[in-house]
Subunit: 304 residues, 2 copies
């Protein structure tokens, strides 16, 4: 066991979007830009900066244009943004965004409550986005929420997960993030569902997006690594959750993920101390929140 | 992977001792007894109730006699107590304690700072304890601290861990808890060190004691399960740490462990809601602390 681990993992940092979209009070664009710059300084190369949803749906991200326009171009760093429909895509593209993300679910009820569409309708809505992106040379990531449990429907059938993953790949997304939206999965679930998907889909196309609601986030990452997955999402400072998912509390903290991977001799390219500094900065900007473990540990001068 | 999991795991609950010994203000004995009773009500069968160290060393546990005498005898429940030397053992035995624990380390510097003895001296000090226990029919557990990293010496040689584990078993302890005292280990470390020990020692004699300082606690449990270990320590509410171990912050929360195991179809015999109620009770008695994940989740009515 653990004998065939990858040498390197790519982390997609989702804190600026998935984290800050849940903050009760909007964070100023300048603080978001500082946060994203600090994340890039720490070595993160894939950073989901914001979402081009309708400003009324998520007022916390109504400054999407300002944030994207304020980000400096950096070699090796890709900023992405959610673009739920063509209108959102056009706004993103107008700001020079070169990678967008689309968002659906493996559970019908969750899709309807989260994005106000059926899964089939969401896939149809993505078609013009994918077409436009292809024309512009913009890459597209797809999220599939509630791949393990749905807060409304309970356990989700892995065949349904595979269907939605395949549909997204067929549409032309280059990577699908299989998401444990409410953070209830255990490693056995990862083996059952992700292992099944990987029997039909190349592992290079799959990222795993865990929430740490039940403390199983890193255990699930290890299960993913053993399955050959090398792409994981996380949120600096453990920010975030999902406003439409009761019980979802906190993305897997990027600091915890980086600690685990580096300790296992898997390279992330991320400087843990700089990452903790970035997390501290945004915690101060949002006026608190639970510090992550590495924030408590490294800020107490106890890191080794 | 994860195909050969045990059907059942035994949890040793260490919150009343390892948790409460670190609280700044002593907790009244009556609150400790209520906590232990609530833990037994939740289904925990192995509960480390207190420590018979010198009251000046850990004033928080100076009421060891009162606590032990206040615990009702319950079928299937074993209360244990630390007995670092013959004097402590005699105090424990006088209260009717039927299971004691001795405490050493795999790192010399940590042993000297934590128990003020070399490892060899500690093993010698245990001899009369083991002899008396054998005579009384009292069972003895052994702890080995700092089996992965030492806060003073850094990485600990797994051969040293095996030596100390073997020495304890040779002395007559029935179970050795291999402890990640500062909570820095990752699953690869568990495989390297515990896997090595298990090449030489029956797995039935080994328990694993993880701290969750870096969020790797459950991932390490899964690695232990895959190695065939079926005994794990945890602390209700995630209480505790180690006053002599800089950077140690919080035992693995029993709630997190129970959630993981039950989700993986491994029976613990523990009722998660009752366990969270027990954790809430002691949190109120100590006046706060960080709630564990399951405390936040289940108390918000979000458990499934």
């Amino acid at each position: 066991m653990l004998t065939n681990l990858p040498a390197r993992v790519t982390i997609t940092e989702v804190g600026p979007r998935d984290g800050l979209q849940n903050e009760p009070a909007p964070v100023p664009a300048v603080a978001k830009i500082a946060f994203i710059n600090a994340l890039a300084d720490a070595g993160l190369t894939q950073i989901e900066a914001t979402s081009f949803v309708h400003p009324k749906a998520i007022p916390q991200l109504a400054d999407a244009e300002e944030v994207c326009r304020g980000l400096p171009s950096r070699a090796g760093v890709t900023y992405s943004a959610l673009a739920p429909n063509l209108r959102g895509y056009d706004r993103a593209a107008a700001c020079g965004v070169r990678r967008v993300a689309v968002f659906t679910a493996a559970s019908e009820t969750f899709a309807r409550r989260n994005i106000n569409m059926s899964i089939a309708e969401s896939l149809s809505a993505f078609e013009p986005v994918l077409r436009a992106a292809r024309g512009d040379g913009v890459s597209v990531r797809g999220y599939v929420s509630t791949c393990f449990d749905c807060p409304y429907e309970g356990a989700v059938d892995r065949r349904r997960v595979l269907e939605v993953v395949r549909a997204l790949l067929d549409l032309g997304v280059d990577e699908v993030a299989i998401s444990d939206t409410i953070g209830t999965a255990a490693p056995t679930d990862v083996v059952a569902t992700v292992g099944y998907v990987l029997q039909h889909v190349p592992r290079e196309r799959i990222a795993l997006h865990f929430h740490d609601t039940c403390g199983t986030g890193l255990a699930n990452v290890v299960a993913g690594l053993e399955l050959g997955v090398t792409r994981f999402d996380a949120s600096a400072g453990g920010l975030g959750g999902c406003p439409y998912a009761p019980g979802a509390a906190g993305n897997l903290a990027t600091e915890d993920l980086v600690y685990l991977l580096e300790r296992m001799n898997i390279s992330t390219g991320v400087d843990l101390r700089k990452l903790v500094a970035a997390a501290r900065g945004i915690h101060e900007a949002i006026g608190g929140g639970f510090p992550s473990r590495q924030m408590r540990r490294l800020e107490a001068g106890r890191g080794t």
